[in-house]
């Protein structure tokens, strides 16, 4: 909402400074966005006169002008076709900043001719959005005066934001009323006009109250349309509206002055009588914006015998619009329902000042007064003769009442305000009050649809007094509890653990393209957005990996290595809350190196991500089983599922070459996924660590190299060896793996024996060694390597 200070002062008698008014507006909830003063901003641009205009010697389209500034004569080169001798113009001098491009003007040479300024267009001064040629100033305008000041733009323009519940402040009148409650000025009530009809209305009305609960109108014959008077043009221009013609300007004035949209039909273009009804599917309508709209059902329309001539509360039709030559009009002032207006406007995509107001709520009692006031102004400006009023329906407004104890201002609002002040504030905002014993009955005014509860009244008091006056209270009593439940805490622990392992956390979209999603399983229809912003983000991600793979490619393309990423976030298997899974997913790509001079570069492999995954499982002291059932986005021979019993905790492995190719990555690429919500929480952790007995007896280490089949899993060999004497075997370390060819490999282990009560004899060591060898042979078919 935009208005000027002088316009506001027509509705509010006040001596308050602009600064105070601005402060009060914001504190009332009518937040001031900006205050401009065009006259100040455009002060350097002065009115001058072209006293000579000659053709440029070296350019056909340019003229060399001699310009009288009032103080001196300057030479200015100008390319505008309308530059001519005797014209009053607006001059920019070297050093001035041109508003449209923010450039500082310099003395220039245009095709070898010096130019000491620029003759401005309205567009260059941001006075109009588009303009042709330079500004032609009225011949009466005084030389040397600032153009904007002469235009009367020396009036601060205030822009405020209006929240959706405050339709009553979409007119200057309502803003003034709100401000008056703060005590900075006196509200000037609207003058009630009545214009007696001199003849019956030749137009009759048929009204469907569904479409429009209250409709008024009248014919005015013999009007003279044309430019509106200077004061009205200036007013509209001051808030950035373009004056069009008296009739149109008058309706715009009422829209901005009192938030009361109106419409004027050219009577001579109407065919027959008017019907206000709901639209039928398939009807079409050409609006004043020149566009045709195909109407759906149940939109409020005004129709004549030819069809729809206006979209109620939104926009009039082109076929019956007023022109300069219009002589007879039908003036309409009606009430349209906010919801219907909003739905219609949204469906058709029409933005208009009327829609903006009706969908936020126009004062339902303003219909008839609005019609009378507009009639009055039309008769005054355009002349003519008004008919009787035609009126159908009734004011759609019932007085409501709220039981209110002013103590609620303190118990809910936290501010002590005495009852007298509470009464004063509510009254000045237009509320009706009836005192009862220990409470008041409050009736909100017709323009405040947003007031229904005691809480709403508390807000009224608070905002007029100022929220800044509410004393802050600190909570004394603070429940001592951990803010995070253990499963939530674990997410943060996992995050820190993975980062400590050198992975970098990313946060990526919860949605993904269907194409990428399909590489990671089915894409159910019920997880596909009905209105995605792009096909790239059209379905809820079934897996976190696709975005990590894209992120890896992004970095790989920029040679930002090493690439190790992880994300902790949701993936979706169905739309229910149970179908949302909290995941910890990591990816390592290419080579792993810190770039340090001492370090050898090596490729990442599955043992890196296996370590990442196990490091998380270790936090919960979990030792998972594994099998080869990782899903098909992994390399089938280089991946595993991690399980606890039948529960899949996650996967790790090399990403399948197809997937790597689909993401245009250079491998190797390895990754892991863990379902965080499936990891059992460790039982109530005791802080005590298991007891450690330090044996005084020497430990003994023995190395064994076994030759086994390629297929034998190393951990089965380790398990077999451990069984030889679990209490004596302190540690087994697999220190060498060697591929021998012919389907065989060698696994070398170092076994540490730690006796607890005596030093081991050679015989005892031999016995354990033999047992290890035979258990390995039994369980894995492995033989000691010769």
């Amino acid at each position: 909402m935009r208005f000027t200070l002088s316009w506001l002062k027509e509705h509010l008698r006040t001596d308050a400074s602009l600064e105070l008014i601005s402060e009060k507006l914001t504190s009332l909830g009518l937040v001031v966005d900006k205050i401009h003063n065009k006259a100040e901003e455009l002060a350097p641009f002065k009115i001058c006169e072209i006293i000579e205009a000659d053709k440029h010697p070296n350019a056909d389209r340019l003229q060399v002008c001699r310009v009288n500034t009032g103080d001196e004569i300057l030479q200015v080169v100008c390319g505008a076709a309308n530059a001519r001798k005797g014209l009053k113009v607006v001059l920019a001098r070297p050093g001035d900043r041109i508003p449209s491009n923010n450039q500082i003007l310099k003395v220039g040479k245009v095709r070898d001719v010096d130019s000491f300024g620029m003759l401005c267009s309205a567009q260059e001064l941001l006075l109009e959005e588009n303009s042709e040629g330079i500004i032609e100033v009225d011949q009466e305008a005084p030389l040397g005066e600032s153009y904007a000041a002469w235009l009367g733009l020396n009036d601060p323009l205030i822009e405020i934001e209006i929240t959706p519940n405050r339709g009553d402040c979409l007119g200057v009148n309502g803003i003034a009323r709100d401000l008056s409650a703060t005590g900075i000025g006196a509200y000037v009530p609207l003058k009630a006009e009545t214009c007696k009809g001199l003849s019956p209305s030749p137009i009759s009305l048929k009204l469907d109250r569904e479409a429009c609960p209250h409709f008024t109108g009248r014919v005015i014959r013999g009007v003279k349309n044309g430019p509106s008077p200077e004061w009205l043009q200036r007013k509209l221009r001051s808030i950035g509206l373009r004056p069009i013609s008296a009739l149109v300007d008058i309706t715009n004035f009422f829209t901005y002055d009192r938030g009361r949209p109106l419409h004027v039909f050219d009577l001579d273009k109407l065919k027959g009588n008017l019907t206000v009804r709901l639209s039928h599917r398939g009807e079409s309508f050409k609006a004043l914006d020149g566009k045709s709209y195909a109407l759906a059902e149940d939109m409020a329309v005004i129709a004549d015998d030819s069809g729809v001539v206006s979209l109620g509360g939104i926009m009039g039709g082109e076929s019956t619009g007023c022109e300069e030559t219009t002589q007879n009009v039908f003036l309409e002032c009606a009430f349209f329902d906010s919801i219907r207006t909003a739905l219609t406007g949204r469906t058709l995509g029409i933005l208009s000042d009327a829609r903006y107001r009706f969908e936020r709520g126009v004062d339902p009692t303003s219909t008839l007064p609005g019609l009378e006031a507009a009639t009055h102004m039309i008769l005054e400006i355009c002349g003519g003769e008004a008919s009787d009023i035609v009126e159908e329906g009734s004011i759609p407004y019932e007085l409501s009442s709220i039981t209110f104890s002013s103590s609620r201002v303190e118990t809910l609002g936290g501010m002590k305000v005495n009852a007298e002040r509470v009464h004063e504030i509510l009254k000045s905002l237009g509320f009706d009050l009836h005192n009862k014993q220990d409470h008041i009955i409050v009736c909100p005014p017709s323009w405040r649809f947003d007031i229904e509860h005691e809480a709403d009244l508390v807000e009224e008091i608070l905002r007029v007094e100022g929220y800044d006056k509410i004393p802050s209270v600190s909570y004394g009593e603070r429940p001592q509890q951990k803010p995070l439940a253990p499963f939530q805490e674990r997410r943060f622990e996992v995050r820190d653990r993975l980062a400590a392992r050198g992975l970098v956390e990313v946060i990526t979209w919860s949605f993904v393209s269907q194409e990428e999603a399909r590489l990671f399983g089915d894409v159910p229809d019920n997880l596909t957005l009905l209105n995605p912003i792009s096909q790239d983000l059209s379905t809820m991600r079934p897996n976190v990996l696709p975005h990590l793979l894209s992120a890896a490619r992004y970095n790989q393309n920029r040679a930002l290595e090493p690439i190790g990423l992880f994300e902790i976030g949701p993936q979706f298997s169905d739309p229910t809350p149970q179908g949302q899974h909290m995941m910890a997913v990591g990816l390592r790509v290419g080579s792993l190196h810190s770039g340090h001079w001492s370090e050898k570069k090596r490729s990442v492999d599955i043992y890196d991500v296996k370590a990442d995954a196990l490091s998380i499982l270790e936090m919960g002291r979990l030792t998972p089983q594994w099998d080869r059932t990782a899903p098909n986005w992994y390399h089938p021979g280089r991946s595993a599922a991690l399980k606890l019993g039948q529960h899949v905790l996650g996967y790790f492995g090399e990403i399948h070459p197809h997937v790597i190719k689909a993401f245009d990555l250079k491998g190797p690429v390895v990754g892991f996924e863990l379902f965080l919500d499936r990891l059992p929480l460790s039982k109530k952790k005791s802080t005590a660590k298991p007891k450690l007995d330090l044996s005084p007896y020497q430990s003994v280490e023995r190395d064994f190299a076994f030759v086994v089949d390629q297929k034998v899993a190393a951990d089965s060999l380790l398990k077999a060896a451990t069984k030889a004497d679990p209490s004596l075997i302190d540690q087994i370390n697999l220190f060498d793996v060697f591929e021998m060819g012919d389907g065989k490999k060698s696994l070398a282990i170092r076994v540490r024996l730690q006796p607890k009560d005596h030093t081991l004899t050679e015989d005892e060591i031999q016995a354990v060694s033999q047992k290890i060898i035979s258990l390995v042979a039994q369980n894995t078919g492995g033989v000691l390597r010769q």
């Binding site: 504190s27 009332l28 909830g29 405050r166 739905l343 969908e359 303190e410 118990t411 809910l412 936290g414 501010m415 509860h453 809480a455 709403d456 508390v458 929220y467 800044d468 509410i470 004393p471 802050s472 209270v473 600190s474 909570y475 603070r478 429940p479 803010p483 995070l484 939530q488 805490e489 943060f492 622990e493 820190d496 993975l498 980062a499 400590a500 392992r501 050198g502 970098v504 956390e505 990313v506 946060i507 979209w509 919860s510 019920n526 596909t528 995605p532 912003i533 809820m540 894209s550 992004y554 920029r558 930002l560 190790g564 949701p570 739309p575 229910t576 809350p577 810190s594 340090h596 001492s598």
Partner: protein
Amino acid sequence: MDKLGQLNQQLVNDIEKAATLQEVEDLRISALGKKGTLTLLMKDLGQMSPDERRVMGAELNALKDVLSAALDQRKAQLANEVLASRLASETLDVSLPPRPSPSGKVHPLSHVLDQAIHIFGQMGFALAEGPDIEEDFYNFTALNIPPEHPARQEQDTFYLPVASDGQPLVLRTHTSPVQIRTMQNTPPPLRIIAPGRTYRSDDLDATHAPMFHQIEGLVIDKQTHMGHLKGCLEEFCRLFFEDPELKLRFRPGYFPFTEPSAEVDILWNNTTWLEILGCGMVHPNVLQNCGIDPAIYQGFAFGMGLERITMLKYGIEDLRLIYESDLRWLNHYGFAPEARE
């Protein structure tokens, strides 16, 4: 006597002059070896009279001790010289970069969430969570936003196909549905924060994203009023922005789910008011929708964008980079992991 004295003098001189460990060893052998000068003299003692032997023996032994000591000393001296010259040739460039430790990073949004949870945790708030895919009822209707409400328009919502039970489904536009779910399932008093992913169908630009994060709070009890709301948010903002003098401005706002409602600005760099959050007293209709009697209970709710406060605090200017996964950005704006527990 003289003869021995001379020998002594001569040998000690030779030892001191020895230039290498081998020369020292040669001197030891020539004096103290099997056929060494001194050894031979010792052997002669057997042929002497007991008196002579006693005197001579004592002198020879003393001489032997002197020589041994001289040999040891020279040996140690030479060994030190050898070591010193070896060490002198063994320098390392101490200016070379040391071995690095793994350098992973926690995303700045996670770091900020952690801080916020910590600050609100101190005030007695506990974390509550809910699903990203929400029923229309929880995201809108229960929050006093009926189907035709203009607020539905302002929040450009992502829709999913209607659920099998006929419920319209949306991607939550705020984390407020978590408040509804909590109020429905847990009797008051309540003090919760609800952080999480939220979605609006905005195209990605420097200040908008189709997915972002919110952190909301809710207090329900019998006495909490606007003064507590102010106190709580002042405490949070001052701790979070690490400025105990930070100025906050509360001004009236509008949300369908709170009444009175407020927008909160902070005075940034002592020059500009920046809007950072919305809040208010929970609307009586919302309490009623959750089965809580508004005649008995009241409380406040607030909500802020995690990205917004992160960008402000750490001087991040472009929202897009938060989700771009550029390692240069992540390494610069990310945080080293903290040891937890």
